[in-house]
């Protein structure tokens, strides 16, 4: 279970989805593990615009990560063409600046390489707990919540 994934999860109880309290789910008793995933700057830059930054900061904070920037890094997705713009801005390099590099590496580690192996995710609206076992989160609801 990756940290990036948490940004795309909420409570499975239908009535909770409209409540802002159900997102993000909150971690309890989380055991983390670092995996090794090849750093892919383009992938990360393209995915970042889809990340809810406030939710990510809450999740990271709960798991003890303190390196998340206060603001989402301002990156133009590499796939976005600028052909519409007749004035070509000088492009120094397609790679991020050196100052960006560390931020990006840290985000890669947090979002993609950090796995929650064991623990619980709790809905802030209804309090239901979803268990994570051996890295797999289980969202099947008990009958009284369906």
């Amino acid at each position: 279970m990756k940290i990036l994934t948490v940004n795309f999860l909420t409570c499975a109880v239908k009535a909770c989805k409209s409540s802002p309290l159900s997102f993000p789910l909150h971690f309890q008793d989380a055991e983390l593990e670092q995996s090794d995933i090849e750093y892919n700057a383009a992938f990360l830059r393209n995915i970042l615009p889809r990340v809810d930054w406030e939710a990510l900061k809450i999740t990271a904070n709960e798991l003890g990560f303190t390196t998340v920037p206060i603001e989402k890094p301002d990156l133009t997705p590499t796939s976005t063409a600028t052909d519409k713009n007749p004035v070509r801005l000088p492009i120094n390099t397609s790679e991020p600046q050196a100052t960006d590099e560390k931020t990006m590496r840290d985000l890669h580690t947090l979002l993609l390489e950090t796995e929650v192996r064991e623990g619980k995710m709790v809905c802030g609206n209804c309090g239901h707990e979803y268990k994570i076992k051996e890295g797999i989160a289980n969202f099947l609801l008990p009958s009284h919540l369906v």
């Binding site: 795309f8 909420t10 796939s79 969202f139």
Partner: protein
């Protein structure tokens, strides 16, 4: 296990004739499912880089490797299949029910649900499954000139067709649509590698022509494209844009 308690008659039925079967045949089933279907492959490859989407009923996760430039949160009812699917990085696979998806509404760029909703045993539940998929997609916006724009998330849904007279099963128009389909599980059970087989039966609702489109419309979706490919009906749909405001 209390969290798996089925509650309605349909739930009980699907639990016995779909979920428990897949749980038991997971490994053998997975070994026979490795080739992506061409239309699914094309749909995934056409997605813009950085798209985030869902694979609802991912099975062994064979579609997770098609496009390395998108991020997919995959789910399946079967823990054993999710265990297999979770090997595909950088994606994540979770255990979830397609009638109660744990995803925020109006969020995703795309969703696929391949050979899944035909396992639900009533029309209402099949439509509910489509509703849950559409609800997860980013809505499309309306435009003054053309009525609507197709700028929202897109879903690709695949179901088994009733009309497949040239297939091994041989069903065709007019046949019974609710069927039990055998799965012969072969296992090497001893050191001599002799094979032992056991037959399981899975419930399927075979879709007739136009039925998938009907389900999508009933679920509040708009069919952009649909067709027939190798014994299956498929459709690509968006959420139907509402007039006057973003849906």
């Amino acid at each position: 296990m209390t969290s798996n308690e089925p509650q309605s008659e349909s739930d009980l039925y699907e639990d016995a004739h779909v979920h428990q079967v897949y749980e038991q045949i997971a490994s053998h089933f997975s070994s026979t499912r490795y080739k992506p279907w061409p239309i699914v492959e094309r749909f995934l490859e056409a997605l813009p880089d950085g798209s985030v989407g869902l694979d609802v009923g991912c099975g062994n996760g064979k579609y997770l490797t098609v496009n390395p430039n998108v991020f997919i949160v995959a789910c399946d009812r079967s823990t054993n299949l999710v265990n297999i699917a979770s090997q595909h990085r950088p994606h994540t696979s979770i255990v979830a029910d397609n009638l109660n998806l744990p995803h925020p509404s109006s969020t995703f760029d795309f969703a696929i649900s391949i050979a899944v909703i035909h396992h639900l045993s009533t029309p209402g539940r099949r439509i509910q499954a489509v509703t849950a998929i559409l609800d997860s997609l980013r809505p499309s916006t309306k435009s003054e000139s053309s009525g609507y724009r197709q700028d929202g998330g897109k879903a690709l849904i695949y179901v088994w067709a009733l009309e497949q007279k040239h297939s091994r099963r041989g069903w065709d128009e007019g046949d019974e649509q609710d069927v039990m389909v055998p799965w012969v599980l072969k296992q090497n059970t001893n050191a001599k590698c002799t094979e032992e087989s056991k037959t399981f039966h899975r419930y399927y609702h075979l879709y007739c022509q136009g039925e998938l489109e009907h389900n999508i419309t009933a679920a509040g979706g708009l069919v952009l494209e649909s067709g027939y490919e190798k014994d299956n009906w498929w459709a690509i749909a968006i959420r139907k844009p509402q007039w006057g405001h973003r849906v």
